[in-house]
Protein backbone atom coordinates (compact mmCIF):
# COMPACT_ATOMS: atom_id res chain seq x y z
CA UNK A 1 0.00 0.00 0.00
CA UNK A 2 1.24 3.37 -0.86
CA UNK A 3 -0.09 6.12 1.37
CA UNK A 4 2.87 8.37 0.86
CA UNK A 5 1.67 9.66 -2.48
CA UNK A 6 -1.77 10.55 -1.26
CA UNK A 7 -0.66 12.71 1.65
CA UNK A 8 1.73 14.67 -0.47
CA UNK A 9 -0.40 17.72 -1.33
CA UNK A 10 0.16 19.70 1.86
CA UNK A 11 -2.83 21.70 3.02
CA UNK A 12 -1.94 25.24 4.01
CA UNK A 13 -4.29 27.61 5.76
CA UNK A 14 -4.91 30.57 3.46
CA UNK A 15 -3.73 33.66 5.31
CA UNK A 16 -4.57 36.21 2.65
CA UNK A 17 -7.84 37.16 4.35
CA UNK A 18 -6.33 37.21 7.83
CA UNK A 19 -6.03 41.03 7.98
CA UNK A 20 -9.67 41.36 6.95
CA UNK A 21 -10.81 39.03 9.69
CA UNK A 22 -8.74 40.81 12.28
CA UNK A 23 -10.00 44.15 11.03
CA UNK A 24 -13.54 42.97 11.52
CA UNK A 25 -12.78 41.86 15.06
CA UNK A 26 -11.02 45.14 15.72
CA UNK A 27 -13.96 47.19 14.48
CA UNK A 28 -16.32 45.11 16.61
CA UNK A 29 -14.33 45.77 19.77
CA UNK A 30 -13.85 49.44 18.91
CA UNK A 31 -17.58 49.90 18.56
CA UNK A 32 -18.46 47.91 21.66
CA UNK A 33 -15.85 49.41 23.98
CA UNK A 34 -17.10 52.03 26.37
CA UNK A 35 -14.38 53.23 28.66
CA UNK A 36 -15.11 53.15 32.33
CA UNK A 37 -15.64 56.75 33.27
CA UNK A 38 -15.94 56.74 37.01
CA UNK A 39 -14.42 54.98 39.92
CA UNK A 40 -17.35 55.42 42.29
CA UNK A 41 -17.49 54.45 45.93
CA UNK A 42 -16.84 51.02 47.40
CA UNK A 43 -20.25 49.45 47.84
CA UNK A 44 -21.54 45.94 48.44
CA UNK A 45 -24.75 45.68 46.45
CA UNK A 46 -27.44 43.21 47.51
CA UNK A 47 -27.94 39.93 45.68
CA UNK A 48 -31.20 39.24 43.86
CA UNK A 49 -32.53 36.47 41.64
CA UNK A 50 -34.46 38.77 39.31
CA UNK A 51 -31.33 40.73 38.40
CA UNK A 52 -31.47 41.83 34.78
CA UNK A 53 -28.84 43.21 32.48
CA UNK A 54 -29.10 46.82 31.38
CA UNK A 55 -29.27 46.99 27.62
CA UNK A 56 -26.59 49.54 26.98
CA UNK A 57 -23.99 51.53 28.85
CA UNK A 58 -24.57 54.64 26.82
CA UNK A 59 -27.88 55.49 28.43
CA UNK A 60 -26.74 54.81 31.96
CA UNK A 61 -25.78 57.31 34.63
CA UNK A 62 -24.48 56.17 37.96
CA UNK A 63 -25.17 57.13 41.51
CA UNK A 64 -23.33 55.59 44.43
CA UNK A 65 -24.39 55.50 48.05
CA UNK A 66 -21.95 53.91 50.47
CA UNK A 67 -22.21 52.61 54.02
CA UNK A 68 -21.64 56.09 55.45
CA UNK A 69 -24.70 57.26 53.45
CA UNK A 70 -22.48 59.44 51.26
CA UNK A 71 -23.79 60.07 47.75
CA UNK A 72 -21.43 60.17 44.80
CA UNK A 73 -22.26 61.21 41.24
CA UNK A 74 -19.50 61.36 38.61
CA UNK A 75 -16.85 60.81 41.31
CA UNK A 76 -17.92 63.83 43.30
CA UNK A 77 -19.44 63.58 46.74
CA UNK A 78 -22.69 65.50 46.58
CA UNK A 79 -25.41 66.43 49.01
CA UNK A 80 -29.04 65.48 48.65
CA UNK A 81 -29.88 68.94 47.30
CA UNK A 82 -27.31 68.65 44.48
CA UNK A 83 -28.94 65.57 42.97
CA UNK A 84 -31.88 67.27 41.31
CA UNK A 85 -29.94 69.84 39.19
CA UNK A 86 -27.30 67.26 38.17
CA UNK A 87 -29.87 64.68 37.14
CA UNK A 88 -32.07 67.25 35.39
CA UNK A 89 -29.02 68.23 33.34
CA UNK A 90 -28.35 64.59 32.47
CA UNK A 91 -31.98 64.09 31.53
CA UNK A 92 -31.94 67.10 29.21
CA UNK A 93 -28.95 65.60 27.40
CA UNK A 94 -30.41 62.13 27.09
CA UNK A 95 -34.09 61.50 27.57
CA UNK A 96 -33.70 57.74 27.70
CA UNK A 97 -31.32 57.86 30.64
CA UNK A 98 -31.43 55.13 33.25
CA UNK A 99 -29.99 55.84 36.68
CA UNK A 100 -28.13 52.84 37.98
CA UNK A 101 -28.17 53.19 41.74
CA UNK A 102 -25.29 51.40 43.35
CA UNK A 103 -26.44 51.43 46.92
CA UNK A 104 -24.74 49.55 49.74
CA UNK A 105 -26.89 46.89 51.38
CA UNK A 106 -26.52 48.50 54.79
CA UNK A 107 -27.96 51.85 53.74
CA UNK A 108 -31.26 52.76 55.36
CA UNK A 109 -34.39 53.10 53.25
CA UNK A 110 -34.96 56.66 54.45
CA UNK A 111 -31.89 57.75 52.54
CA UNK A 112 -32.92 55.77 49.46
CA UNK A 113 -36.38 57.30 49.51
CA UNK A 114 -34.97 60.83 49.81
CA UNK A 115 -32.79 60.18 46.75
CA UNK A 116 -35.71 58.74 44.81
CA UNK A 117 -37.78 61.81 45.60
CA UNK A 118 -35.01 63.98 44.15
CA UNK A 119 -34.86 61.79 41.06
CA UNK A 120 -38.59 62.24 40.63
CA UNK A 121 -38.08 66.01 40.84
CA UNK A 122 -35.46 65.76 38.09
CA UNK A 123 -37.86 63.61 36.03
CA UNK A 124 -35.31 60.80 35.78
CA UNK A 125 -37.88 58.13 36.48
CA UNK A 126 -36.12 55.13 35.01
CA UNK A 127 -33.87 53.67 37.65
CA UNK A 128 -32.18 50.38 38.28
CA UNK A 129 -31.20 49.05 41.67
CA UNK A 130 -27.75 47.63 41.06
CA UNK A 131 -27.70 44.05 42.34
CA UNK A 132 -25.60 40.94 42.02
CA UNK A 133 -26.79 37.62 40.68
CA UNK A 134 -27.81 35.26 43.43
Amino acid sequence: MDFGKKSKPTAGIPTASLPDIIFMLLIFFMVVTVFKEFRGLPVLTPAARTTEKLETKRNVAYLWVDKQQRISIDDKIVTLEDIEPIMAEKFSQNRRIVISMKIDRDVEMGRVTDIQEKLRDAYTLRVSYATRFK
Binding site: I22, R49, T50, E52, L54, R105, E108, M109, G110
Partner: protein
Protein backbone atom coordinates in the same frame (compact mmCIF):
# COMPACT_ATOMS: atom_id res chain seq x y z
CA UNK B 1 -4.49 62.53 -22.74
CA UNK B 2 -5.91 59.58 -20.97
CA UNK B 3 -2.91 57.45 -21.74
CA UNK B 4 -0.66 60.04 -20.13
CA UNK B 5 -2.53 59.88 -16.85
CA UNK B 6 -2.36 56.13 -16.87
CA UNK B 7 1.35 56.13 -17.21
CA UNK B 8 1.78 58.47 -14.29
CA UNK B 9 -0.31 56.36 -12.02
CA UNK B 10 1.64 53.26 -12.90
CA UNK B 11 4.81 54.75 -11.56
CA UNK B 12 3.25 55.42 -8.12
CA UNK B 13 4.96 54.21 -4.95
CA UNK B 14 3.34 51.35 -3.03
CA UNK B 15 2.64 51.55 0.69
CA UNK B 16 4.18 48.47 2.28
CA UNK B 17 1.30 46.44 3.67
CA UNK B 18 3.32 43.54 4.95
CA UNK B 19 3.16 44.68 8.56
CA UNK B 20 -0.51 45.65 8.41
CA UNK B 21 -1.77 42.52 10.17
CA UNK B 22 0.69 43.14 13.00
CA UNK B 23 -0.48 46.70 13.51
CA UNK B 24 -4.12 45.68 13.43
CA UNK B 25 -3.38 42.82 15.82
CA UNK B 26 -1.85 45.26 18.26
CA UNK B 27 -4.92 47.51 18.10
CA UNK B 28 -7.15 44.50 18.48
CA UNK B 29 -5.32 43.36 21.60
CA UNK B 30 -5.57 46.87 23.05
CA UNK B 31 -9.33 46.93 22.62
CA UNK B 32 -9.67 43.36 23.85
CA UNK B 33 -7.88 44.30 27.05
CA UNK B 34 -9.71 47.57 27.66
CA UNK B 35 -13.20 46.25 26.94
CA UNK B 36 -15.10 45.67 30.13
CA UNK B 37 -17.32 42.70 29.67
CA UNK B 38 -19.10 43.13 32.99
CA UNK B 39 -22.47 44.56 32.09
CA UNK B 40 -24.44 46.81 34.36
CA UNK B 41 -27.05 44.74 36.05
CA UNK B 42 -29.81 45.38 38.48
CA UNK B 43 -33.53 45.40 39.10
CA UNK B 44 -35.21 47.91 36.79
CA UNK B 45 -37.85 50.15 38.26
CA UNK B 46 -39.82 53.12 37.03
CA UNK B 47 -40.47 55.78 39.63
CA UNK B 48 -43.95 57.28 39.71
CA UNK B 49 -44.54 60.51 37.87
CA UNK B 50 -45.20 63.58 40.01
CA UNK B 51 -48.89 64.34 40.34
CA UNK B 52 -49.84 61.30 38.33
CA UNK B 53 -52.19 59.95 40.94
CA UNK B 54 -55.01 57.75 39.87
CA UNK B 55 -57.54 55.72 41.74
CA UNK B 56 -57.44 51.95 41.84
CA UNK B 57 -59.93 49.70 43.51
CA UNK B 58 -58.60 48.70 46.94
CA UNK B 59 -59.19 44.98 46.38
CA UNK B 60 -56.47 44.98 43.71
CA UNK B 61 -53.86 46.39 46.04
CA UNK B 62 -51.72 44.25 48.25
CA UNK B 63 -49.79 46.07 50.94
CA UNK B 64 -46.38 44.76 51.89
CA UNK B 65 -44.83 46.37 54.92
CA UNK B 66 -41.24 45.91 56.00
CA UNK B 67 -40.17 47.14 59.42
CA UNK B 68 -36.73 48.11 60.61
CA UNK B 69 -36.05 44.60 61.89
CA UNK B 70 -36.70 43.15 58.44
CA UNK B 71 -40.02 41.60 59.41
CA UNK B 72 -42.62 41.50 56.66
CA UNK B 73 -46.36 42.03 56.84
CA UNK B 74 -48.48 41.19 53.79
CA UNK B 75 -52.01 42.57 54.06
CA UNK B 76 -51.70 42.55 57.87
CA UNK B 77 -50.49 38.94 57.91
CA UNK B 78 -46.92 38.34 59.03
CA UNK B 79 -44.77 36.40 56.56
CA UNK B 80 -41.23 35.13 56.28
CA UNK B 81 -39.10 36.23 53.33
CA UNK B 82 -39.25 32.68 51.95
CA UNK B 83 -43.08 32.69 52.09
CA UNK B 84 -43.57 35.96 50.22
CA UNK B 85 -43.37 34.36 46.81
CA UNK B 86 -46.14 31.83 47.44
CA UNK B 87 -48.39 34.35 49.18
CA UNK B 88 -48.04 36.96 46.44
CA UNK B 89 -48.40 34.37 43.69
CA UNK B 90 -51.68 33.25 45.22
CA UNK B 91 -52.91 36.82 45.29
CA UNK B 92 -51.77 37.49 41.72
CA UNK B 93 -53.62 34.43 40.45
CA UNK B 94 -56.81 35.16 42.38
CA UNK B 95 -57.05 38.69 40.90
CA UNK B 96 -56.55 37.51 37.33
CA UNK B 97 -55.23 39.48 34.38
CA UNK B 98 -55.93 43.04 33.39
CA UNK B 99 -56.91 44.13 29.88
CA UNK B 100 -53.22 44.68 29.04
CA UNK B 101 -52.41 41.06 29.81
CA UNK B 102 -50.57 41.88 33.00
CA UNK B 103 -51.72 40.81 36.46
CA UNK B 104 -54.32 43.09 37.99
CA UNK B 105 -52.70 43.00 41.39
CA UNK B 106 -50.69 46.02 42.47
CA UNK B 107 -48.15 45.30 45.14
CA UNK B 108 -47.40 48.31 47.29
CA UNK B 109 -44.14 48.00 49.17
CA UNK B 110 -43.84 50.23 52.18
CA UNK B 111 -40.83 50.48 54.43
CA UNK B 112 -39.79 52.35 57.51
CA UNK B 113 -37.07 54.94 57.24
CA UNK B 114 -34.74 52.73 59.24
CA UNK B 115 -35.42 49.57 57.19
CA UNK B 116 -32.23 48.27 55.59
CA UNK B 117 -31.94 48.54 51.82
CA UNK B 118 -30.97 44.89 51.64
CA UNK B 119 -34.29 43.80 53.21
CA UNK B 120 -36.16 45.97 50.75
CA UNK B 121 -34.34 44.45 47.76
CA UNK B 122 -34.90 40.91 49.07
CA UNK B 123 -38.65 41.56 49.34
CA UNK B 124 -38.77 43.29 45.95
CA UNK B 125 -36.92 40.32 44.46
CA UNK B 126 -39.41 37.82 45.91
CA UNK B 127 -42.39 39.90 44.77
CA UNK B 128 -40.98 40.03 41.25
CA UNK B 129 -40.36 36.30 41.28
CA UNK B 130 -43.99 35.77 42.23
CA UNK B 131 -44.97 37.26 38.89
CA UNK B 132 -46.24 40.63 40.07
CA UNK B 133 -45.46 43.31 37.49
CA UNK B 134 -47.22 46.29 39.00
CA UNK B 135 -45.13 47.26 41.97
CA UNK B 136 -45.46 50.56 43.70
CA UNK B 137 -43.10 51.99 46.25
CA UNK B 138 -44.90 53.83 48.99
CA UNK B 139 -43.20 56.61 50.86
CA UNK B 140 -42.13 55.60 54.34
CA UNK B 141 -43.80 57.17 57.30
CA UNK B 142 -41.70 59.77 59.02
Amino acid sequence: MSSMIKRRVRGGADIPTGSLPDIVFMLLIFFLVTTTIDMDKGIPMVLPDRGGEFKVSPENISNVLINSAGQVLIDDEPAEISQIRDVIRGKVESRGLDTDGKPKLIVSIKTERSTSYNDYIQVLDEVKRAGATKISIAEPEK
